[in-house]
């Protein structure tokens, strides 16, 4: 019986991997053996990093908000507490964007957070007394 191989399919499979590894460095774009590993890891990390990206952006927004809040004489932590007290439900993405592109509006949000915070501490003091 003649030996049966599946050369066309194997070649097509390898070609597909090499094609998807275009632009990779050195032999990782030229040799199937290394290209396969590189593409698999690339897809694996891309899947994982779509999740970590969401965290990273939140960290970035919070850092920006902290800087912007301090510029208006408030720390981020107090600002967040004040927002909650004032019932402002804007998220970090929007707030950070406002801090960069619309300083006047951000300032008035900070002022509202501050006054809500003062109101909160006052009512607390009343309760204690």
């Amino acid at each position: 019986m003649p030996r049966a191989t599946n050369a066309p399919a194997s070649r097509a499979r390898r070609k597909r991997v090499i094609k998807s590894a275009k632009g990779f460095r050195g032999r990782r774009s030229k040799l199937f053996r290394y290209a396969k590993d590189a593409t698999m890891k690339g897809k694996y990390w891309a899947y994982r990093d779509r999740k970590t990206r969401k965290r990273n952006f939140r960290y970035l927004w919070i850092q920006r908000l902290n800087a912007a809040a301090r510029a208006n004489g408030m720390t981020y932590s107090r600002f967040a507490e004040g927002l909650k007290a004032a019932g402002i439900g804007l998220d970090r993405k929007i707030l950070a964007d406002l801090a960069v592109t619309d300083e006047a509006t951000f300032k008035s949000i900070v002022d509202q957070a501050r006054s809500a915070l003062e109101g909160k501490s006052k009512s607390k003091a009343k309760k204690a007394a």
């Binding site: 698999m40 899947y47 779509r50 402002i88 998220d91």
Partner: protein
């Protein structure tokens, strides 16, 4: 410059009239009008209105331009030395809308909240 912050599909968007944005799938045909009732903030020049957290009565209307799909993303799961890997393709369904009008709601609320 007047703009509003609306919430849809768990995300918040900053919109002005005439903007075209992609939001999470809305069950509406192209050409229909979409109404966003969840308005968190409205800014008109230096006049700021915010809700608690939503502004009651305020709404943003938009025209549905098309129902479309986002770029394909590949979810590749892989466990080394376990002989396990899965490839799943996914395209998020989006609705492209063009913002028509922004109304800040009743005057009473606006006057109370504005500083």
């Amino acid at each position: 410059m007047s703009y509003a912050i609306i919430k849809t599909g768990g995300r918040q968007y900053r919109v002005a009239e005439g903007d075209t944005i992609d939001v999470d799938l809305l069950d509406l045909e192209a050409g229909k009008t979409a109404t966003f009732g969840d308005v968190l903030m409205h800014a008109d020049g230096d006049k700021l209105t915010h809700g608690d957290p939503l502004i009651s009565g305020a709404k943003v209307t938009a025209e549905v331009v098309e129902q479309r799909k986002d770029k394909k993303v590949i979810a590749f799961k892989y466990r080394r030395r376990k002989g396990y890997h899965r490839t799943v393709g996914h395209r998020r369904k989006l609705t492209r809308v063009k913002i028509k009008s922004i109304s800040a709601g009743s005057k009473k609320t606006a006057a109370k909240k504005e500083e």
